[in-house]
C-alpha cells in the first residue's frame, strides 16, 4: 500500500510510538496530588512545553483537547459567546474545514450572523471583500492557514491585520501547517497531533496571553477550567514528541516534500492543478482531468491510498465544498484527486503511484 493521503492523517512516527509505550507505565491521574499523580502531571507539562516550543510561542497558554475539532469548537463558541452584544457577526471563509464552517453556522441559533467570505479561483481570499466584511460588528474571524483539500496558504497575517484594526479576535486552524510552516499571528490557534505523525485523540488550543473564554464542556476543572476531563499523559507525550520531531526535521521534511512536489508536477503535466501553485503547502497536490470519474479511479487503485477530498466528507457523495468555492463545476470537481505526501513517502513510491494513476486515467478515457 502506497500511502498518499497525508492530509487525512499521517503514520505514527516510530519515535512517537516508543515514547507513548514508555508513558503507558505512568498511569497516574495528572490531577491527583500524590506522587504517582505528579509523575503523570510532569509528563503532561513536558509535552505542553514541547508543543509550545514547536508553535514558537513562549507566551499565552496551551490547553490540551481531544483534537482540533474540539479546540476549534471551544475557540469559536467561547469567543462568540463572550463577545460584546454589538458584535454579532462571525466571519470565516468558504473553504474552511467542517469543524469551523459547521460551528460558525450553528451560531445562527444563538442570534449570530455567519458571514462566509468567498475565495477566488486560486483558493485565496479576496482581500477587498475581506476588508469590507470585517468591521466592528464582527465577534470573530476564523481562518485556516493551510487548506486541507487544496493546500492553499491563506494570507492569515494580512487578514489578521484587518481584524486587529477592528478589534476582532482571530482564530486560526493551523492543523495542516503546524510543524511544517511558521505558525501565523493569531489570538487562538488550533492544532492536532495526528497530522504530524502523532496519535489520534489529542490536540490543542493555544490562547494569547490574557485571553479568557468560557468552556465548551463542564467537569472537573482541568486545563484552567477551560477543558474538563482527565488528560491522557500517554497521548500528550506522543503529541509532544511528534511536535519536537517536526521542529527538528522541519528543513529536511520540507526539502523532501519540495522534491516530491516537483517530480509529481512533472509526471502529472497534463493534469490541471486545483488552487494556487505558489501560495501552497507543497505536500498537497489536488489535480483534475476533464471527463474523469475520480471516484471510480479511486476504487480501481487498490494499492494506493488517496482521496477525493476531506476524509470526514468522503462517503457522502457530496461534491467538495472547497472545489465548489474555487469555482469548479460539479463535473470538473468529479474529476479531482487529492494526493498528499510527506516525511515517509519515498520518491520510488510516488513514481509508482503516479504511473498507476495515469494508467488508470488513460484507460478510463479510452473506455469513454
Amino acid at each position: 500500500m502506497i500511502y498518499l493521503d497525508y492530509q487525512a492523517t499521517t503514520a505514527l512516527a516510530p519515535e512517537v510510538a516508543a515514547a507513548m509505550t514508555a508513558a503507558m507505565d505512568h498511569y497516574g491521574n495528572p490531577n491527583s496530588a500524590h506522587r504517582i499523580g505528579r509523575i503523570a502531571a510532569a509528563d503532561v507539562e513536558l509535552a505542553r512545553d514541547r508543543v509550545m516550543t514547536a508553535l514558537g510561542r513562549g507566551d499565552g497558554r496551551l490547553i490540551f483537547t481531544s483534537g482540533a475539532t474540539e479546540a476549534l469548537n471551544t475557540a469559536i463558541l467561547g469567543t462568540a459567546r463572550s463577545a460584546p452584544a454589538d458584535r454579532r457577526r462571525v466571519v470565516t471563509l468558504a473553504t474552511e474545514h467542517a469543524a469551523v464552517l459547521d460551528t460558525v453556522l450553528s451560531l445562527r441559533h444563538e442570534g449570530f450572523e455567519p458571514v462566509i467570505l468567498p475565495v477566488e479561483r486560486d483558493g485565496l481570499v479576496d482581500m477587498d471583500v475581506a476588508e469590507a466584511a470585517i468591521d466592528e460588528r464582527a465577534a470573530l474571524l476564523a481562518v485556516m492557514q493551510v487548506n486541507n483539500e487544496i493546500g492553499v496558504i491563506q494570507p492569515v497575517a494580512q487578514l489578521g491585520a484587518i481584524a486587529r484594526r477592528c478589534g476582532v479576535p482571530v482564530i486560526c486552524d493551523a492543523v495542516q501547517g503546524f510543524g511544517r510552516l511558521a505558525v501565523p499571528e493569531a489570538d487562538m490557534i488550533a492544532i492536532t497531533a495526528h497530522k504530524i505523525h502523532g496519535p489520534k485523540g489529542v490536540g490543542a488550543l493555544w490562547l494569547r496571553e490574557g485571553l479568557d473564554i468560557p468552556p465548551l464542556m463542564h467537569g472537573g476543572g482541568q486545563e484552567g477550567g477551560l477543558r474538563p476531563g482527565t488528560l491522557a499523559p500517554m497521548l500528550c507525550t506522543g503529541f509532544g514528541v511528534a511536535a519536537q520531531l517536526a521542529t527538528e526535521r522541519r528543513e529536511a521534511d520540507m526539502a523532501h516534500v519540495e522534491a516530491l512536489w516537483a517530480r509529481a508536477r512533472d509526471l502529472f503535466a497534463d493534469w490541471r492543478l486545483n488552487g494556487s501553485d505558489e501560495q501552497r503547502y507543497h505536500g498537497n497536490l489536488n489535480i483534475r482531468r476533464g471527463g474523469l470519474d475520480a471516484a471510480r479511479l479511486l476504487s480501481q487503485l487498490r494499492t494506493i491510498a488517496l482521496s477525493l477530498g476531506s476524509a470526514c466528507a468522503s462517503g457522502t457523495g457530496r461534491p467538495s465544498h472547497v472545489l465548489r468555492a474555487i469555482g469548479l463545476k460539479d463535473e470538473e470537481a468529479r474529476g479531482a484527486l487529492r494526493i498528499g505526501f510527506g516525511r515517509y513517502t519515498t520518491m520510488d513510491e510516488l513514481e509508482q503511484a503516479v504511473a498507476l494513476i495515469n494508467e488508470a486515467a488513460a484507460i478510463q478515457r479510452v473506455a469513454a
Binding site: 500500500m1 493521503d5 487525512a8 492523517t9 503514520a11 505514527l12 510510538a17 503507558m24 498511569y27 497516574g28 491521574n29 490531577n31 491527583s32 496530588a33 500524590h34 506522587r35 504517582i36 499523580g37 483537547t65 481531544s66 483534537g67 482540533a68 475539532t69 474540539e70 467542517a98 469543524a99 459547521d102 450553528s106 492536532t192 495526528h194 496519535p199 489520534k200 485523540g201 489529542v202 465548551l216 464542556m217 463542564h218 467537569g219 472537573g220 476543572g221 482541568q222 474538563p228 476531563g229 482527565t230 488528560l231 499523559p233 500517554m234 497521548l235 479511486l298 487498490r302 494506493i304 491510498a305 488517496l306 482521496s307 477525493l308 476524509a311 470526514c312 466528507a313 468522503s314 462517503g315
Partner: protein
C-alpha cells in the same frame, strides 16, 4: 526498592496488559477510519469491531457513540438532550453538576441514595450515577429507572465507576462510560444511547453525533479492557471488608458503611486528623490515596458528596478515599492499614 502502594484506582487505574497490546496493535493501523481507501477501511473495520465488542461485553443492544471520555459523554447527553428539563442527584460528579443549576438537583438520604420527586414531569432527563466515585455508594438504578419511566421521564446513568465491575443498569436510556477507570486508556469513553431521538445531532462522525477523527487504537484498548477477567473483584471485596473492620476497630468511621457499596471503594474518616494531613503522610510513606475525586483533589475543598449526605464540614474534612484495582495485592492493604492505625493512634 519498596513497592509503592497505589490505592487510588477510582481516579485512574493502570492500563491492563491486554489493553496495552490492543493499543500497540491499533497504532500499526494508523489510517483515518473515515478515509475511503483500503487502509482507511481497515481502520474503520477495527473501530467497528471494537464498538461491537464493547456492546457485547456490556450486554447493550443500543447505540455506542465514542467520545473523548465520560466528561464529553455527559456533556453531549445533557447539553444536546431533546428533553425540556434536566434533574440530577446532588452527589453526582462535577462533570454533571456544572451543567445542572442547584435548583434542579435532587436531594439524597444519609446513605447517599437519591430521592426522586413525586411530581416528576414527563420528558424530564434525570441524571443519576450508578456508583459514587467518592463513597462507592451504589444507586438502585433498576428500581430508579422504573419510577422514572413510569413518570414518562428518561434516565441518564453515569456508569464511569461501575462499568466493568458490575452489570450495567437495565433500564437506562443513556449511559456514560470512561475507559481509564476500568483498565483502558485515558482519552476515550462512550455514550450508550437506547434511542438517538433523545439527542440533537451535531458533527460528522459517530453517526452525526460527535465530530473529530476517531481514535481507533484507543477504542481497541477500551474494548480489550472491558473483556478482561474480573476475578480480582472477589479479593477486593474481602480486602474492603477487612479495611472497614480494621478501621472501625481503630476508632475510625466508614462512610455509608450501612448501604451497598462497590467493593473497590472505601471512604474512611480518621477523627481529629485532616484529610490533607493524612494525604501528605500517606504520600511520604509511599501510599497513594485521595480526598474525594482527583479532579478536585488539588483544591482540597470540602466534598459536595459528603455535604449532601448530611456530613458536617469538620467531619467531612477528615475523610480519605481508598480504592482497590486489578493490580492491588493483600500487602498493599496491610501496608495501608498499618499506616492508618499508626496515624490514628499517634495523633490521639
Amino acid at each position: 526498592m519498596k513497592r509503592r502502594i497505589y490505592l487510588d484506582h477510582a481516579a485512574t487505574t493502570p492500563l491492563l496488559e491486554c489493553a496495552r497490546m490492543a493499543l500497540l496493535d491499533g497504532f500499526v493501523h494508523w489510517a483515518n477510519p473515515s478515509s475511503p481507501h483500503a487502509a482507511g477501511r481497515e481502520a474503520r473495520a477495527l473501530l467497528e469491531a471494537a464498538r461491537r465488542r464493547i456492546a457485547a461485553a456490556l450486554d447493550w443492544d443500543g447505540e455506542v457513540l465514542f467520545t473523548s471520555g465520560a466528561s464529553e459523554a455527559l456533556a453531549i447527553a445533557i447539553g444536546r438532550s431533546t428533553s425540556d428539563s434536566v434533574l440530577a442527584g446532588a452527589t453526582e460528579h462535577d462533570a454533571v453538576l456544572r451543567h445542572v443549576p442547584p435548583s434542579q438537583r435532587l436531594e439524597v438520604d444519609t446513605g447517599g441514595h437519591v430521592l426522586l420527586p413525586d411530581d416528576l414531569a414527563p420528558g424530564t432527563l434525570v441524571v443519576v450515577q450508578h456508583v459514587n466515585s467518592e463513597t462507592g455508594v451504589i444507586q438502585p438504578l433498576d428500581a430508579i429507572a422504573e419510577l422514572i419511566h413510569a413518570a414518562g421521564a428518561y434516565l441518564l446513568a453515569d456508569c464511569s465507576q461501575s462499568a466493568g465491575k458490575m452489570p450495567l443498569p437495565r433500564g437506562a436510556d443513556m449511559i456514560a462510560l470512561s475507559a481509564h477507570k476500568l483498565g483502558g486508556p485515558i482519552g476515550i469513553g462512550a455514550l450508550l444511547v437506547r434511542d438517538l431521538k433523545r439527542l440533537r445531532p451535531s458533527g460528522g462522525q459517530e453517526q452525526g453525533y460527535r465530530a473529530g477523527t476517531e481514535a481507533m487504537p484507543l477504542a481497541c484498548g477500551f474494548a480489550a479492557a472491558l473483556a478482561a477477567s474480573r476475578g480480582w473483584l472477589t479479593d477486593a471485596a474481602d480486602w474492603r471488608a477487612m479495611m472497614d473492620n480494621a478501621i472501625i476497630r481503630a476508632g475510625g468511621e466508614v462512610v455509608a458503611g450501612g448501604v451497598p457499596r462497590l467493593c473497590t471503594i472505601g471512604s474512611y474518616r480518621m477523627p481529629g486528623v485532616s484529610a490533607q494531613a493524612q494525604l501528605i503522610r500517606f504520600d511520604m510513606a509511599g501510599i497513594a490515596v485521595s480526598a474525594g475525586s482527583a479532579c478536585s483533589s488539588g483544591s482540597l475543598r470540602t466534598s459536595h458528596v459528603l455535604a449532601a449526605m448530611g456530613w458536617s464540614e469538620s467531619a467531612a474534612s477528615q475523610v480519605v478515599r481508598v480504592s482497590i484495582g486489578h493490580d492491588s495485592r493483600a500487602t498493599d492493604i496491610d501496608g495501608f492499614l498499618v499506616q492508618w492505625q499508626a496515624m490514628a493512634t499517634g495523633t490521639r
